[in-house]
Amino acid sequence: MDHSGQVLQRLRDALPLNCLITDPRAMRPFETDGLTAVKQMPWVVALPESLAQLRAVVGICRECAVPLVARGAGTGLSGGARPLADGVLLGLSKLSRILEIDPDNRIARVEPGVRNLAITEAAAPFGLYYAPDPSSQIACSIGGNVAENSGGVHCLKYGLTVHNVLGIKVLTIDGDELTLGGAVLDSPGYDLLALFNGSEGMLGIVTEVTVRLLPKPEAKSLVLGAFSTLEDAGDAVGKIIAAGVVPAGLEMMDALAVQAAEAFVGAGYPTDAAAILLCELDGAAADVAAQSNQVQRLMRMQHATSVRVSRDDAERERMWLGRKAAFPAVGRLAPDYYCMDGTIPRSRLGEVLRAIARLSAEYGLGVANVFHAGDGNLHPLILYDANAPGQLAGAEAMGGRILALCVEVGGTVTGEHGVGVEKLDAMCGQFNAQELDQFHRIKSAFDAHGLLNPGKAVPTLTRCAELGGMHVHDGQLPLPDLERF
């Protein structure tokens, strides 16, 4: 029996029949994650049902030097779970038990395959919820959320995944089972917990997650402001923040996104606006009422053409609907769209949006902009037709230039979607050779032989050198004395 035959036999011995897929037709759903433009059939798919089976699969991969790609629900948007032709795709969806909801300590302890929304559903009877709500929260898993440090529309006030996970258990490729953090705040020692959040499955396999739960806010209010220029909307965001209000969510949509959303779901958005702002306030009822009035006043002072406030939960949810359906709505405008994920200092928004409009004209591709305005996270949606020759390449090239622009104004190439395979080249522009090398040494500390999700998240120095990547920091234009590699 050849090497791969032997490995396969060992996997068959370790897993029940229904937990190992080798038939290409049955593996089809695993060939891509949420970045559907990138496809690759895995060698085999392993779907362990227990920690013991998971240990066995990891052990076999270690001993046989077979690479391993961990996958949660496969909703990631940067190709982080793209399989390898010669590797095991390790699906964690069957490890989906909620182990504990502890209302007094306000924690939930769950297995990695538990869906994000399922945690909130399980906590609801106690008046508690799990705050991070990425747009895929119906489907995405908490293990995947940890791997990507997922965000959502409520990050300004409630933070990203890293701010809401108190502890994890991980299985390393060496077979060590580590407990990082716990049901406590600020455990001592190195913050390996923070290091694992957003590490894209490169350092270990998450086997258990303890998250903090929050009491459901007593009241919520959504204020919708319409503006005749993007600048007015941007200024209103700055004024709201500077006035000391910390909204639960603060979202901006440009005219194309507003029109698409309105045509799709009829959320009651003013389609003649150049931009709208959605500002959600939550907390104790008296606080919310006072802050809602303050936000309405500030929007009017920034020349809002109309301001609307939700009167009840039903209306609030209707008003959110357009924003939440923005991606599929924009998807109706063209056969395909490419979602970008740069973060910028908010004060640079006007100039970045103008530059994106110029790029849109240059490449002949439409762009709708959806913006987590509170935390500077921009999602330009580039419209293209994959069947039209050159359009995908054009969209990718244009996306690369948008990300370079984000770095140039002092931002980052990915706010919440991760690097995966998608932004490897963009990473060459954000980090220099020494910084990338430091990342590789961190990787080696946990995975000396590079078996976990190889080729993702951090580009090799060779790749960057071939790209002629230029390193831009703090908005400084490239200088002659900066190293090139």
Binding site: D102, P103, D104, N105, R106, I107, N149, L156, L160, V162, D176, E177, L178, G182, A183, V184, D186, P188, G189, Y190, D191, L192, A194, L195, S199, L203, P217, D235, G238, K239, A242, A243, G244, A284, A286, D287, A290, T343, I344, P345, R346, S347, G374, G376, G410, T412, G415, E416, H417, V419, M427, Q430, F431, E435, Q438, I442, K443, A445, F446, V458
Partner: protein, 376 residues
Amino acid sequence: MCTTASCHCPTWNDFSGLLPGIRVVTQIHERDDTQRLRESVAAAVAKRQPLAVCGRGSKTFLGPVVAGNMLGTAEHCGGVDYRPDELVITARAGTPLAHIKRLLATQSQMLPFDPPLFRGEGSLGGAVAAGLSGPQRPWFGSVRDAVLGVRLINGQAEVLTFGGQVMKNVAGYDVARLMTGAFGTLGVLLQVSIKVLPQPQREITLVFDLDRDDALARVVAWGRQSIPLSATCHVDNTLHVRLSGTEQGISSAARALGGTVLPHAATFWDTLRDHAQPFFTEALCWRIALPSAAPFPRVAGRWLVEWAGAQRWLRSEEPPEVIVAAVTALGGFATPFHRVAVAPRVESGLLKYYQRIKTAFDPHDIFNRGRLWMDA
């Protein structure tokens, strides 16, 4: 050995030109000590000599004495880039915390983690390296929660930048947060970017006469409700509870909670944060992290309970192993908060990874040897 160094940052007294909503870049009389610090690290690496890295020396009473030549960052200060409407401040590591706090206060903003200023001292870099947060931490976040980016010198004398000045950033591993609480064992912090928050419009502190267990039950129950809590402290049969929010919000919450209003409460919370309370001045002090609702470990001593039960300070003369065992059994962590001969041991499974992470950043073991954990 680290001693307190002086910093030549001037006192800011001219805040004209700082207007909310406008991008503000304050250039003060500053000193960029990067080159000297980098050269010192390079020289130490060449000779394989350990360095005792420290900021302004306000936390040297914690943990073991560190061997090696002192490398102080206190003179590497200023370079403040403060953008109130972006909720971000960036400054060199040696910049005194007191200056940062004053600058933020001019814009009615604050450091969310409100770090302790032991003896009124402390630098921004030191606050990040120690990772200690003040009384409002459970509600406004910890030091590491607020750290957005760092510039550092690693153990190969390379100046590296990780993270940034934006709230959301998942490009590369989160080195900025890994540096938080690492006590300078992985690198010399040069510059830090921090997320800041608006100060609450109004605060009120209520006082209740309750014993230890009743007080804990009370704060645990309140924690499950939508109440604008921002600090709790129970010591000597008195529970202090702070509420923060709008005028309307805290008035209505205060009516629901009852208790007596404490006048001049800011002093109470500041002295608690800075460990200037009598509780902290005697006997050996331990910092105990526990699940909020966990019962009290069976250890003889006195307790001061913060963070709605999640952080408890213990003054006890019991043997360390007794304290650690009692706390660990309840799912918590006990850390000595005083001078010790050697740093705590790391759990055996983790030790290998601590050693490898240390080597990944500091291959010649130059920085703060044995400051955070015992390498054995």
